[in-house]
């Protein structure tokens, strides 16, 4: 049983929670995720990225959008409540440029919606490894930005904000500044985390420039240990399991259309769980 120690509402239906999970806090690395259940008997198992962790306190932080049956239930839980199941850390950690042999360089991190949450520990680790980190954050409007201050701490003047309605930063899509950066040269790697459609177009944007592009996928999972195969995606023509082979893959090789179709397999049932499901955000961690 894992106690909820802190809860914050970050925007209209985005919440942040700090959960007691000493073993996970101790082992987790940037890029890894957990699977949790809110209701032990009748609940489903959903994957959520670890946004942050504190080894000393033995806690992990998660950020989620209340859009499905389980995230809605989770949003109703409060400090002092317990989660019956938290499993992790799962997946392979991010291969941080500068840590494993190659030279640090200039990395562009693109976070869409609450995709900024998993991007936070990754950009932090990139910075610590000596990279120049440019961060592009995108949201529908200014009220939906999360972790803006913390991302600014990491990127400083290299933080670019994009909104659909122009209420903050530039008006437009994250792919616009991404393309400009690619054109100006000197970019060694791009990491994109957000809705599948955003990751797809980021990958398409960087492809002509032949810049390494890493994406973090969040497909439907049950066990998270490679046992069910429900999370499988096609990467470079090969079937990969997001839970054990990922969650990060080469964005240029992912079969995005197939992945998005698989992610909407249970659309009718999910619509019942919540009348109003925004498909764009369904893929976000």
């Amino acid at each position: 049983m894992n106690e909820i120690l802190e809860k914050k509402q970050l925007s209209e239906n985005v919440f942040g929670m700090t959960i007691s999970a000493p073993l996970i806090a101790n082992e987790r690395k940037a890029g890894q995720f957990i699977i949790l259940m809110v209701d032990e008997d009748a609940g489903e198992r959903i994957p959520l990225t670890i946004a942050d962790a504190d080894k000393e306190r033995g806690t992990i932080s998660i950020i989620f959008q209340a859009i499905g049956a389980t995230t809605l239930k989770l949003s109703k839980k409060n400090v002092g409540d317990y989660l019956p199941a938290v499993l992790g850390p799962l997946g392979k950690p991010t291969d941080i440029r500068g840590e494993n042999g190659e030279k640090p360089g200039h990395v562009v991190c693109v976070g869409g919606g609450i995709g900024v949450a998993p991007m936070h520990p990754i950009s932090q680790a990139l910075k610590a490894a000596g990279n120049r980190v440019t961060i592009i954050m995108g949201a529908r409007n200014k009220d939906l930005f999360i972790l803006e201050d913390r991302m600014r701490e990491i990127a400083g003047n290299d933080l670019i904000l994009m909104t659909d309605d122009g209420s903050s930063g530039r008006k437009g899509l994250v792919t616009e500044p991404l393309k400009e950066l690619c054109e100006s040269g000197g970019i060694d790697e791009v990491i994109a985390i957000g809705p599948p459609i955003m990751m797809k177009f980021c990958s398409l944007t960087t492809k002509p420039f032949n810049i390494k592009t890493t994406v973090s996928l969040n497909t439907v999972m049950i066990d998270g240990t490679g046992m069910c195969g429900g999370c499988r995606v096609s990467v470079g023509g090969e079937t990969k399991f997001v839970c054990v082979d990922g969650p990060e893959f080469d964005g240029h090789k992912v079969d995005w259309d197939l992945m998005m179709r698989r992610m909407s397999a249970y659309k009718p049932q999910e619509a019942v769980a919540r009348e109003h499901t925004c498909n764009l955000y369904k893929g976000i961690k």
Binding site: G224, G229, G230, T239
Partner: protein
């Protein structure tokens, strides 16, 4: 009774739910013997002095011994004998492939020239175990608590996984006086007994009572704990003070066919398909959040027990038509005979000597058909089974909306890949000493599907038991 009289007793049929009714509910298919039936069936045992049946049993239960007790109506006495060597009689009575084990060697079956007329050892075993559980009001009760426990040894054992191999190893270690902790990745203990084998074949209450019995024996169970990720195996020994570790994490990596269209929406591994229904109770839409795929025309690929379970589950999840597609003939099917029989009775259509070639999808990436082709049998292959050869130009398209791939499991690489020095073979199975089940790392043992590749519950139990003995020997020989 003379042998002649015994041979004259009619084999007792197992009462079952009507096939067409049960195909639409999750309740257990086989209803179990009455006391009278169990007694009568046990009386058919010829009490052969050579006990041929025992050599077919992976844990060598004293079968004639317990049948003699059962034939006298002493079911408690019978169960006591079973429990000397088997830990999960209620489970094994239901899921063991008896016709390939004990009943294969039964003299009665041979004398009557029909293996189906062998003494129904498994059914009697099941009756004895069920009766005891009912008497105890379904409270925790099992081999474990009925067997004396040795004085505490002060040794600590970590058991990874909570399926049949792990349950057996944990119980034996606990009985030997060790302090045992079991680690399970899922939120419920029981492994394949809870996520894989369906309720209609093995009620989950039975599994739960076995798990409860383990707890009564003092075994601690840590759920939601994936060894290799939550903590490394070597940390158990180097940092956490465990004296030995048993890996019983199972096969757990579904194989696919590697055919076109296999990642379309509506194609599932049997593991996923069954886990959604069994562990996550997806079929109970009133109270459970996990969704399932509402397939109406389902093709299941494979010929093993898992393929039978998946095809029968498809009926229960509301399918109108279920095809079981197997590339050899029925004689080569690895499934238990009874499961094949049950699946057919319930209306699963068997398409043997056929195989899937390509999954067809619509513009939305959803399955709309399956291209199959036909096979004929050639010469026996390495496994001794006649190998199927594709017939050219035999392709045809099957109108289906769901595909379940049940062609087996490979070994899950999670523990080997995070445990330095753990030797595995070409197939990814952990290599162990065949007498002690110790791996290449001293103090680390393994058993069950992670060693054998996909096998059966009873074989996994046998491995767990041997490993427990190996652990004891290792701990006491060590200075």
């Amino acid at each position: 009774m003379t042998p002649k009289e015994r041979m004259a007793i009619a084999p007792q049929a197992m009462p079952e739910q009507d096939p067409l009714i049960r195909a639409r509910n999750m309740n257990e298919v086989a209803l179990g013997y009455t006391a009278e039936m169990a007694k009568t069936e046990a009386s058919r045992c010829l009490q052969c002095p050579t006990k041929p049946c025992m050599k077919g049993c992976p844990v060598a239960i004293n079968i004639p011994g317990f049948l003699a007790k059962a034939s006298e109506g002493d079911f408690e006495g019978a169960l006591k004998i079973i429990r000397e060597t088997s830990l999960l009689p209620a489970v094994c009575g239901r899921v063991c492939p008896q016709e390939k084990q004990c009943q294969k060697f039964c003299t009665m079956g041979k004398a009557l020239g029909d293996i189906d007329k062998a003494v129904a050892i498994g059914r009697i075993e099941r009756f004895c175990a069920d009766l005891a559980r009912e008497k105890a009001n379904n409270n925790a009760l099992s081999a474990a608590i009925h067997t004396p426990k040795a004085a505490p040894t002060g040794k600590r054992i970590a058991i990874i996984g909570s399926g049949p191999a792990s349950i057996t190893c944990a119980a034996d270690c606990a009985r030997a006086g060790h302090d045992v902790t079991m680690f399970e990745a899922f939120h419920k203990a029981g492994g394949v007994l809870v996520y894989g084998i369906p309720e209609f074949r093995l009620p989950k209450a039975i599994v739960q009572s076995e798990i409860d019995a383990l707890k009564e024996l003092g075994v601690k169970i840590e759920l939601n704990y994936v060894v290799g990720r939550t903590r490394k195996l070597k940390d158990f020994i180097e940092k956490d003070g465990f004296d030995a570790v048993f890996i019983g994490s199972g096969a757990g990596l579904p194989k696919f066919m590697n055919i076109e269209g296999e990642n379309l929406v509506g194609v599932f591994s049997a593991n996923e398909y069954l886990t959604r229904a069994n562990l996550m109770k997806a079929y109970d839409e009133k109270g459970h959040d996990t969704p399932y795929w509402h397939g109406k025309k389902v093709a299941v690929l494979g010929g093993g027990n898992v393929a039978m379970d998946a095809s029968r589950m498809a009926l229960r999840l509301g399918a109108d038509k279920v095809y079981l597609i197997y590339r050899r003939s029925e004689a080569e099917m690895p499934a238990r005979k009874e499961e094949v029989h049950h699946a057919k009775e319930e209306g699963v259509e068997f398409l043997t000597l056929q195989n899937a070639k390509r999954v067809l999808g619509n513009d939305d990436g959803v399955v709309i058909g399956l291209e199959c082709h036909k096979f004929e049998l050639g010469e026996p292959d390495a496994s001794g089974r006649r190998s199927p050869i594709a017939i050219e130009g035999s392709e045809f398209i099957l109108d289906i909306d769901t595909v379940v791939v049940a062609v087996g499991n490979a070994s899950n690489p999670l523990i080997p890949s995070t445990t330095e020095g753990l030797e595995i073979d070409k197939r990814g199975n952990i290599v162990v000493n065949s007498e002690t089940n110790m791996t290449s790392i001293p103090g680390v043992f393994a058993g069950g599907d992670i060693v054998l590749g996909a096998a059966t519950v009873i074989l996994a139990m046998g491995e767990g038991r041997r490993a427990a003995k190996g652990i004891n020997d290792y701990l006491f020989k060590r200075p």
